[in-house]
Structures are given as C-alpha cells and as structure tokens.
Symmetry: C2
Subunit: 521 residues, 2 copies
C-alpha cells in the first residue's frame, strides 16, 4: 500500500529562488542551499509593505466614511472567480502585480465598515481598535506564556478584570477566545465539569443523560456546542418564549421538572441577553432564582447584548446578570473591537477554568521558569496558539474612556429608537415587534400588497419581498441589511444599528431606499 | 433576590462625548442624543491611523531584520504593570498619549519576528502575509456567507484545493480554523460522527466507551480534545514511540486489540507528522495499514510538519499521508502566514463536514438567496464569526510561488542540518538525537560538568543549566529559544529554525551566546 510521496508532489519546473539576494563569496552550502546571510530582500519587502499600507489607507480607511462609495460590488461566484486571479502557481508574482491583486481584493470585498452596512451584528470602523490590530499583526504574538507575550497577557488580565466589574462580580476569571460560539462551548464544558469533574478523565460514556436548557430564540451555537461536546442536540431543551422573544421562566421550571422525571440530569441553563434575530433579553433574575432552586449553572450568552452593560441608561436590560456563573460577551459587536474579540467570563475564582482545561504541556508551561508562572495563562484555553484579542478592545477603551463607550451604546440605541418611530410613521413599513435593543425587525409591504387581506396569499407574497429587495440592493451596492424568516413569521428585514459613523440621515436613507427598490412589487 | 443593575454600574462622573463633532443646527434628538451626522471625527481618526502605521513601520517592520536590536526587553510582571499604563478610565486619552502607549506596547513586547527568536514553532516576518493581515483587519470581514465575504470565501476554497493537492488527494474538503488544537478537535468529532452519526443528536450517554490512539509524543491538544468532546482523557491511548519519537506500529496494533478485548470502541488513530518537541514523524504507511485493517479513521496532525509537503526533497517525511482521512496543517508555522493560519483537511467529499457540523441558522444561511448558497460555507464550522485566515497564506503563495515556498522549507532544513553539524563539532554541546526536521534538541554542558560521570548528580545539575541560561538570555535580550524536560530527559534546549531572515551567522551566534552565558556554570 505504500506509495512514493515524492512522485505525487504537484510541482514541476526547476527551483527558482524568488527571495534570494546575491550570495556571498565564501558561501556555506548544505544540501545545495546557501546559508550565508538572510535570503529575504528586506528593503524590497519593506517597500512593498509601505505601498500596500498606502493602498489600504486610501481604498479602505479613507473611504470608510464616504456614503457615496458602494457597500459592495456584487459579482456571482463563478464570475468573481474569473475576475480574480486566484490560482497559486509555481513561480511568484512581482510586487506591482501583487498590489493590483490587493486592489482587486478590496474592490470586490464587502465594505463592512461602510456607514450603510447593516447586515450583521458588527459594522463600522473604529480607528483605535484598527491600530491595535495592525500592531498585533506586525508583532505576531501568541498569548500563552508571559515569556513570549508579556504585554498582551497583562492587557488581557486588565480587560477581563474591568469586564468582570461591569458584570457586577467582585472577582472572577475569564479568557478571550475565537467567537461567541466558542465562549458558549467553554461555558457548557465548565458547567459540566462543575457538575461532575470526573467527566474530564472518564468521558460521558455510561453516565445518565445530561440535559441543558436554553430559550427557543437562543443562538444556534448552543446546538453546535451540545453536539461537539458529546452531549447531543436532543439534550438541548428549548424553552418557550413570550411574544417579545424572552424566555418564559415558568416554562423553564416545568421543563426542568419534566427532565428530572424522565431520568435526565439537568446541569445548565443558558439565558440569552440580546437574541440574534429579535434582540430580546431573557429575564435573568427570574431565571437565576430557578437555577438557584435547582442547583444549575447559569450561563448568560450576552455576546450581542453585553455591550449594554457599558450604558447606565440601558444596562437594566441585563438586570440580574451578576447572578450568572458565566457570561459570554463580544466587544467586537456593538463596541467595534474588530472580528474577533470575545470573552468568556467566569464568576468562580477557585481556578475552575484551569482545572477544567489544563493539560500541563511541559514544553510550554515549565514550572521551573524564573518568573511567576501564574501569568502563563495559556493552559486555561482549548487553543494552543491564541491571538491577543483583548488588546483591540483595550485600545478603544483607552481612547474613548468608559464614557465614550457608553456614548456609543446610547447613540446606537437612540438611532434604533429613531428608526422605529420612522417605521411607524411611514406607509408600507410594519414593525414585527417593539424592539428592546438595536435589532429593528420590520416588513416592507409593497404597494400591490397594501390593500390585501393578511391571509395565506398575503404572507406567501410578502415572503418574497425581502429577498427580492435584498438582491436589488446588493446588485446596486447601495446598502446591506439582513432578512430572515423566523418562527412562523415570513421573511422580514433585520436592521442593526451600531456604528458612530451612522446618522439619522442613514436611517432615512435606509427606508427611502427600500421603498425605492420595492415600490414596483 | 433581584438587584438593581443600574446601581452597580462602575461608572461615575458625567457623560462626556469623546467622539462628538459639533452638533448641527437642526439637531434631531432622541433620548438626549443628537442623531444628525456621524459622531466620529473621521479626519482625526484617519490621521491617528496614519501616525500609528508610521510607528509600526519604524519600530516593528524596519527593525525586524536588525540583529543589533534586542529580542525582548524583559521585565517581571509586577514591574511591567507599573511601567505600562494599563488602567481603563472613565475618560479617554488624547492621540499623542495613545501613540506613546503604542510605543510602550511595542517596546516591551517580544519581537517574534527578530532573526534570533527561536522560541516557538513560528518566527520571522513575511512581508506578504503581513500585508494580507493588514488588509483583512481594515476590511474586517467574517467568513460565513458569500454575501458578506465573497472574495475571502473563494480564496479559502482555492487554498484548500491546493493544500489537498499537496496532500495527494484527488478531492477533499476542509476549513480554516483558529489553531491546530481546534483542527484536531474537528477531526476527532468528524471521526466520531463517521463512526456513529447518531452521536450528533443523542450524545455519548449510554454508548460504549469510545477510544482513540495517538503517540506518546503527540501534541497535548489530543488530551484537551478528548476532554472537551466528552470522550475523556483516559480514553486517549498513548502508543509507545521508538528512540526517535516515532510511533511504533506494532504497539499500536497491540493496543487496539487490547481495547477491543476490554469492550471499548476504537474509532480513531491520530498520527503526528512533526512532533512538538522532537520533530518526529510517525510512519504513516504502516499506521494506515493498521487503520485499514481495523476500520479506523486516520487523522494526521501535521500542524508542524505539514509544510514539508511543499518540498520535493523533504515531503518523504510524510510518506503515506494521502491515505489519511483528515489532516491538520498550520501554514502559520514554517510557512510564516501569521498567527493563526490553520487548516483541517478532509478526504471525504460526501459533505461529511457539513453534515457533522451544520445547525442551519435561518438568519444566516437562508436558502432563498439569489446566488448559489453552496458558497455559504459557514455552517461547516463550529464558529459563527470566522476570520479569513486562508487569505494570508494565499498572498504569500502568490508572491513566492510554490517554488519560493519550497525554497523556504529547504533552507530552514539545511540551516537545521548546519546547526546539527556545528553542535557535533563543539565542545560542551550534546545532541539529544539526530533530528529529522527543524527541531534541534541539545544540551549545553558547562565546563564544570564536562568531566563528571553521567550519573544522577550529573543529570540533576544539568537540569538547571538550560533554565539558568534561558533566564540570562532573556534578561540580556540577545536571543530566545525554548527548553523543556521530556520523557525522562532533563531540561534541554529546543532550537527551531524557520525564517528566511535567519542565516548561518545566527546559528553560530546561537551556540556562541549559549556558551558565553553558561560557561561560568
């Protein structure tokens, strides 16, 4: 069955030293390779970086605030493949050609920092986090040991401490990780470890069926997590929500009793603060009461809504969050720290994270180092290499101060309010529900449907309106916002307001443009 | 039990609009917030970005090739906290102060791109991937749907296809993800899904004990994965290795039989191509034979060694890799794509990744979009937001061509060879073993120990040599390389050669410097 891998190497032609600078006189050769001096032409490389930075500045940063630029330059996949020179070849491309490629990549990429990009739960351009991101890319650290990442580990510690303070805990622990989905996985595993520490070594085999509870409006990562962690998606119990998308506490308690009766082992309740579609906030205090009564870990997925904690006016949306055992909070969303900046925060201070996750790699976490190795926090992570994501948020926080961050949240929510009132005023627009947060869900009802009775035919026709308008806006490049069907409701728009570059004028434009694109339907 | 979250908000003082530009005459106010126009002062922000870019260019990029710069500016944690102004306050800092902070962050950060940083399995500065990283930070995409990330999804597809070609598969699938550890988790879950698809819904409860096999020299992420996935660390069976750190196939087969006899359910063998400490390559062909006989999924953790596939000379290290079911390969290591750039590659083309991972979020993966939604690959991921890591590798590949990448690998391995020969020549240096790859493991034996018999006292004394020299080199800032004890061997140095900025002169310096720092011991 053995085969010669050499034969399969998809390379042909002679080796050609792209990077080679002229070799020295007294060359040291090993295996035919000259080992004297570096082979990189640093001067040329530096010049390339400088030119590319200029391009990025001109084509991305300076245009980010210009509403006359297109949000996207739509091309269907097969056509875009033709337009871009994606092939990787045996020989490299010269710098001027690479710069053209960079220009193309920028041209055909969606401008997520455009003031009229409202498509996801992130948007806009934060100059401070951008600088932090450029710095970390240049420094290329990995955050596992103090020895290789002293500054970024201390920054992470400081940021976690501050976030913990805003949750309302006296102390706690935490870790930045690649996404709210991963934060939720961390929490699920922690809750499981707390419930039965033996699972770390023994696994789930032979144990009773573990079961967890979350709202029917929760993020889809709860299912992914249950599947990944070997718990199984059928053991995620979805609790009914009220008309505004909030978990009904009485239903939660009923389901817990029911699960126990069936012999399952409840171990976790996950509440959501800011659901993905409706922006709903579960009643944390009532849920915390139930968790206390039943001895269950309370995790709050505040990936989206956590930023409201920065605002004295709006933090009441998360009333009771200090009673959670763990919280997921993504500053890359409303606080604009850049994809990705996500913290899992844990109330426990008995080193639960470390106990649950450590594997004690002796090549990384040597105990005979000359400094305090409690700063080598990498063993708390499921990752080995890890990016310094806390630093992006830290830079913005330093630049704006807590008050500046609060201002951003307040403004995003005030703009949302403004949009809601405009939707109510305008003919052909219909709110799905009165929003609590920055998700404004609404239908656009084109003229031909305005007189129709709201029966099956109406809904069927309305269902194609948002996708059609979305297609038109993308092809025009004027605007991007999301749409989806949701729990029996036909396709509606979900508008998300985040960036301080956005103004009332953009809200007006949004409604005008939807009307313009859909009024013939 | 309820408490007023407003009361707990750790903010005091009056709101102060850091970002506010002068409000317009006919202001629209909602909740006391002016909604006209953007509140960000774009001009000032752009200027800040420009100044910071200049700083990054001068202090990081231009200094990266300068061996006269220090690798690190060591400060112990408590002292560094004093030196850095880490506190986040209510009010923000002016731009000139932020630039000072940036300068401090750079100053006290370890220069992982310094030619004498040999501490981890990544190093050096690749100008092309750096540009790609700056671009993606500025564009801030998330790679889940074609609609928001058209270019980066196509780039990922192209890069995966090319990597699959180099593995020697005719077709396949894959996904970039945040780290080799996560790749290994993906593979473990895929193998489990293939073994028993019901586990996705039902979980592991009530199932027989699943068991997997990996070498005693494998990466510590295998244990983390087994724990996280609910399999349990006790169900990771560590197979004995030979004197060079390679898995012994006969031992593997014995253990599989033994596990079956004990009623456990074997489902996965993980071979390692390039172990973390010794750089050993497991015999893939022999292991693949065993996996075929027993119907087991073969995953190859080539996170570190995968880059040898780019070299016609060295790809034989991975002979048989085309027989794997999945492969982890991190271009951020020897191919210098920047932390993180990690692919999990899967031979299956029946959409196994998607079947195993999908959760079908209706707000993201709408099926009524106007384009071919097979390009919306985000549902194959455990993440929701995901960074465009493939793009960094793509840019370098475009710049250097396959031949340039091959050249890098060949040169790193030739330099390793050179270092090995020098170590053999020099008094006081002792190789741990003849390396196969770019990990050169050796002891420095200071003069006082050179005449001593190799008994317990000798080893005890030798054990403190590497940590002491490491402390001295970090305090001096001249060089960084790792050390560890390993499987009964006392602390030794592990030198890793990667970057094309490194030369023979740096190898000589390394040995001279260690001797200089340790000769009084």
């Amino acid at each position: 069955m053995s085969s010669d891998s050499d034969r399969e190497c998809p390379l042909d032609g002679d080796p050609h030293q792209q990077e080679m600078v002229p070799s020295k006189k007294s060359a040291v050769l090993v295996d035919g390779v000259v080992l004297n001096g570096p082979t990189t032409d640093a001067k040329a490389g530096e010049k390339f970086v400088e030119e590319a930075c200029r391009l990025i500045m001109e084509e991305v940063v300076l245009k980010a605030t210009d509403v006359s630029e297109k949000v996207c330059e739509w091309r269907p996949p097969e056509q875009l493949k033709q337009l871009l020179d994606l092939d990787m070849r045996n020989t490299g491309e010269p710098h001027h050609r690479l710069l053209e490629l960079c220009r193309d990549v920028i041209h055909y990429s969606v401008k997520t920092n455009h003031p009229r990009f409202f498509n996801q739960l992130y948007a806009g351009l934060d100059y401070y986090s951008l600088v932090a991101r450029f710095m970390t890319e240049a420094l290329n650290p990995s955050v596992y040991t103090y020895e290789v990442s002293p500054v970024f580990l201390l920054v992470e510690e400081a940021v976690l401490k501050k976030m913990i303070e805003f949750i309302g805990w006296k102390e706690g622990d935490g870790i930045f990780n690649p996404g709210g989905s991963v934060s939720n996985m961390y929490a699920m595993n922690l809750a499981r470890y707390k419930y039965c520490p033996d699972i770390k070594e023994k696994g789930l085999s032979g144990l009773p069926r573990l079961i967890l509870f979350t709202s029917a409006e929760c993020h889809y990562s709860m299912k992914k997590a249950a599947s990944f962690l070997g718990i199984g998606t059928e053991n995620v119990c979805f609790v009914e929500t009220d008309g505004r998308g909030k978990m009904v506490p009485e239903e939660l308690e009923k389901q817990i009793w029911q699960a126990r009766k069936e012999g399952a082992a409840p171990f976790l309740v996950c509440a959501t603060s800011g659901t993905t579609v409706l922006g709903a906030f579960d009643p944390l205090d009532e849920i915390a009461d139930i968790c206390e009564r039943h001895g269950l870990w309370l995790h709050v997925d505040a990936s989206w809504g956590g930023s409201a904690l920065m605002s004295r006016k709006h933090r009441k949306l998360l009333r009771g969050i200090h009673r959670a055992d763990s919280v997921a909070w993504n500053p890359h969303k409303m606080l604009m720290a850049g994809i990705q900046c996500c913290a899992l925060l844990v109330k426990d201070k008995s080193d639960l994270l470390k106990k649950c996750y450590s594997a004690k790699a002796s090549y990384l976490f040597q105990q005979d180092k000359f400094y305090d190795v409690s700063y080598d926090t990498g063993d708390k992570s499921i990752q080995c290499s890890r990016r310094p994501d806390a630093f992006k948020f830290w830079m913005t926080w330093k630049a704006l101060g807590t008050l500046g961050l609060e201002e951003r949240v307040n403004r995003a929510l005030a703009l949302s309010r403004y949009l809601v009132e405009e939707i109510k005023k305008r003919e052909g627009f219909k709110l799905l529900l009165e929003p609590e947060y920055a998700n404004i869900c609404f239908w656009y009802i084109p003229p031909s449907l305005r007189e129709m009775e709201e029966g099956p035919e109406f809904w069927e026709k309305l269902n194609v309106v948002a996708p059609t308008i979305k297609e038109r806006m993308m092809k025009k490049g004027s605007l991007m916002l999301g749409y989806q069907p949701h729990r029996g409701k036909v396709n509606f728009f979900r508008q998300v307001v985040i960036s301080p570059q956005v103004s009332r004028e953009d809200m007006d434009f949004l409604l005008d443009e939807i009307d313009l694109l859909g009024r013939d339907m």
